[in-house]
């Protein structure tokens, strides 16, 4: 018996012996399908009544691995078909060549003939295999009058009675199968499924490198600017501290008494020591904060700073001045004594002796007082100058401390940063290397898939060509090849 299905399979196997079956099973049923409200159920009921010799099924009664003998695709006559209807017909007829288009409900829609023509043109323009689709109007369950199914029934009988149907359906199944396989090989060869991963990897790689460069420059700029700021701020702080301590000590010096002189010197030494400690502590805190901001460990704190040398104020060396003061004070006292004595002598001549004694005493007391006051004032002036000297020394010591410590911190932080960057670049390089390895792997896999495609595709294409020549004739086969891509996507699942 010359089985048309076997002969088609043999035709394909002759080109590539590995191709034994299109992966679908032919089932002797007529699939009646269509979009919602196209009147499919009444159409199927009418056809079952009129053509009991054939089995009619709806879309949910047939599995994807089964190819119906014929597909009756119904659309409503109310409006021409849409893109979604076309997608539905693509899906329903992927393994079947015999398609009959039905415009339903023609009893109600007065321009059903225009709609039918529009549907025919729309479908024919979609793919060459639809050019042979025959369209009829039908009214399976009119509200009034009789059903109009004669034309459809007659067309179906004639088409189903065609002995070539099985062969053509098998060819169509093969065409779909080969298209799917070719499509899959081409997608593999082009690395389509890997494309997303590969582009994500490229992006990761670029991001990683850019982030690396960016953080590096950002960090060194931040460190430099922070160090400069620290230098300026700490210098300012040290100077301010010295100025304020100077004014504070000057005030104290202006009210120091003769007895408090020794204590005051001690006090000045303590204060200057305190200020040095304060400044050092301020430097430590500031540098620690700065390092914390940069995410680096605080720079090491050197040993406590040396106290500035504070000598004693030059209070003792003033013999000449004392002598001069003694003479001037004695003169002043003598003058006062004479005036007092003369006053007593003028007022009460009997008290001349007493006046002499009182005048002498008053002159002596004033002499001692004036000399003493002058000495104290002199000491205060000397102290003030001394404080100036002390604070100047203190200031230079503090500034030196600031400069030294900032410099030390800069060195420490820079080297720490360098070490850290070294470690990070190593990590980044490792990441990039990993990404590169994966990219290489993908490239190799894609190249391998392309090689497989190049090796495997020619027999498939040849088989497809042969199938198409059988199906559409020699002339139609070539252009049909071009439109294969559009149909590939939605057939992948139905063919598997």
């Amino acid at each position: 018996m010359s089985d048309p299905i076997a002969s088609v399979d043999a035709l394909v196997s002759a080109i590539d012996p590995a191709l034994v079956s299109p992966g679908v099973e032919a089932r002797d049923v007529v699939l009646v399908t269509g979009p919602w409200l196209a009147g499919t159920s009444s159409l199927i009921a009418g056809l079952r009544a009129r053509m009991p010799e054939h089995t009619f099924v709806e879309a949910d009664e047939i599995s994807a691995a089964e190819a119906p003998t014929a597909v009756v695709f119904a659309v409503s006559a109310i409006v021409p078909m849409t893109e979604s209807d076309c997608a539905l017909i693509d899906h329903a007829t992927s393994n079947t060549d015999l398609i009959v288009g039905v415009v339903s409900k023609i009893d109600a829609h007065r321009n059903w003939r225009e709609v039918l023509a529009a549907d025919r043109a729309l479908l024919a323009a979609r793919a060459p295999r639809y050019e042979r689709v025959q369209w009829v109007g039908a009214a399976a369950a009119p509200d009034l009058g009789d059903a109009q199914l004669d034309e459809l029934v007659e067309l179906l009988r004639q088409r189903l009675g065609d002995p070539d149907v099985q062969r053509r359906n098998r060819l169509r199944a093969w065409e779909n199968r080969l298209q799917t396989v070719i499509g899959r090989y081409e997608a593999d060869g082009a690395g389509a499924d890997r494309q997303a991963r590969v582009s994500a990897l490229h992006k990761n790689r670029d991001d990683s490198l850019r982030a690396r460069r960016q953080t590096k420059s950002e960090r060194s700029i931040a460190l430099r600017s922070q160090i400069q700021q620290a230098r300026v701020q700490l210098g300012h702080f040290a100077r301010n501290r010295c100025t304020s301590v100077r004014s504070e000590l000057a005030e104290d010096a202006s009210s120091v008494t003769r007895r408090g002189l020794g204590q005051f010197q001690e006090y000045v030494r303590t204060r200057s020591g305190e200020v040095v400690d304060e400044v050092d502590e301020g430097i430590t805190t500031h540098l620690g904060d700065m390092a914390g901001q940069l995410g680096l460990p605080a720079p090491p704190v050197p040993a406590a700073p040396p106290r500035p040398e504070v000598g004693a104020p030059p209070l003792k060396s003033r013999r000449l001045e004392t002598q001069l003061m003694m003479i001037l004070g004695a003169g002043f006292g003598l003058g006062v004594a004479v005036v007092v004595t003369r006053l007593f002598a003028g007022l009460a001549p009997g008290l001349t002796i007493a006046g002499l004694v009182v005048g002498g005493l008053v002159g002596l007391v004033l002499t001692v007082w004036v000399v003493g006051i002058r000495g104290l004032l002199h000491d205060r002036a000397v102290l003030d100058r001394w404080i100036n000297d002390v604070t100047t020394a203190l200031r230079s010591a503090a500034e030196e401390r600031v400069a030294t410590r900032v410099l030390t911190a800069e060195t420490a932080l820079t080297s720490e940063l360098a070490a850290r960057e070294e470690a990070e670049s190593a990590t980044a390089a490792e990441q990039v290397a990993e990404i590169d390895a994966e990219l290489r792997e993908h490239a190799i896999t894609t190249a391998r898939a392309a090689a497989v495609r190049d090796r495997r595709l020619p027999p498939f294409q040849q088989a497809l060509q042969a199938v198409r020549t059988e199906l559409y004739g020699a002339t139609a086969a070539e252009p049909a090849n071009g439109s294969a891509g559009a149909l590939t996507a939605d057939k992948t699942e139905s063919a598997n």
Binding site: V79, D85, K105, D107, P142, L144
Partner: protein, 333 residues
């Protein structure tokens, strides 16, 4: 849309504003009045073959300002026929008030109570599916133009009924009327319209009353009413914008008269009416009692509503209804 068919609140506001502008002779109000009273532009969308053009014509005949520019339109009308295809769904834009018109309702098929009732049920189902108000329509009948020949053909059909079982049977079956007249009649009215017109003519309806009958059958008025309801938020927003402009104008110019107009009971109540239209169009009922207790209850309820989980439009509407109710309460006391 023309002023006559506009909803109450907005129309009263525009009229009051116009009156105020005339009395106080303020030219600055003219552009604001023009903006607030501008007709709402409606864009009619739909796939080819669903009768978009016919619906456009029918809406235009009902006084709707139809615009071909769908990006600049205030409202969208999406025309569908029979089913909702993915292509129809894609035309529904969430950012624009939309009305779906289920055209060719006469061709829905005879249910237990006729094609229009079936179309209503189907429209309700589509509304469930999309969340967009959907109304059936027979746009063909709204624009039907019957000349003398067709009227006399209808009279002939009264005495000599033709085969109406299918459109082909109607044109091709042997009958007194020439087939081309029957074809013209079919193009003008389709089977549904012919059947109704023949019954009406048989009952003695004068030819002049036929267009009104057909318009009633076409459901045009219902479509326009739904369109008005869908437009309620647009009108409310326009009114709000106008009031904001008027307020800033009153502040800038120190115009006490205008400030008084804006704070008057009438203005507040008009705003409330418009807000009520918005919430009722969205399906929320507003109680209508006219005594102190119900005003208070309404004020409290809508105050709470405006603080509830609702969008900005409804928040503002709730506040306006509450404010208006308090004014009414003040009046009653």
């Amino acid at each position: 849309m023309d002023t006559a068919s506009e909803w109450e609140g907005h129309r009263i506001f525009v009229d009051a504003l116009k009156r105020f502008a005339e009395q106080s002779c303020k030219p600055a109000l003219t552009p604001i009045i023009r903006r607030v009273s501008a007709p709402l532009r409606v864009a009619v969308l739909g796939r080819d073959g669903v009768g978009r053009g016919t619906v456009e014509l029918a809406l235009a005949s009902a006084g709707v300002a139809v615009t071909p520019d769908d990006t600049g339109a205030d409202l969208h009308v999406v025309v569908v026929a029979e089913t909702l295809k993915p292509e129809d769904h894609a035309m529904l834009r969430p950012d624009r008030p939309t009305l779906v018109v289920l055209n060719k309702a006469d061709l829905t098929g005879f249910g237990a109570d006729g094609p229009i009732a079936l179309a209503h049920r189907r429209a309700a189902a589509y509304r469930e599916l999309t969340g967009v108000p959907t109304v059936p329509m027979v746009a063909l009948l709204a624009t039907a133009d019957l000349d003398g020949e067709l009227i006399s053909a209808l009279h002939t059909l009264v005495s000599r009924p033709a085969d109406l079982t299918s459109i082909d049977a109607f044109v091709q079956s042997p009958h007194l009327l020439p087939p081309d007249v029957r074809g013209r009649l079919l193009d003008a009215l389709d089977r549904f319209g012919i059947a109704h017109a023949v019954v009406a003519v048989g009952e003695g309806t004068p030819a002049a009353a036929l267009p009104a009958l057909l318009r009633r059958l076409s459901q045009l008025d219902r479509v326009v009413a739904h369109l008005e309801a869908a437009a309620a938020p647009v009108r409310y927003r326009r009114m709000q914008a106008a009031i904001a402009e008027l307020r800033s104008l009153a502040m800038q110019s120190g115009d006490e008269q205008l400030a008084e107009f804006l704070a008057a009971d009438e203005t507040i109540l008009t705003v409330m009416t418009t807000a009520v239209e918005v919430v009722e169009a969205a399906g929320v009922r507003v109680e209508t009692g006219d005594d102190a207790a119900s005003h208070l209850r309404r004020a409290v309820r809508w105050r709470r509503y405006s603080r509830g989980p609702v969008d900005a439009l409804h928040r503002s509407c709730g506040a306006d209804i509450s404010r208006g109710s308090l004014r009414l309460l003040g009046r009653v006391r």
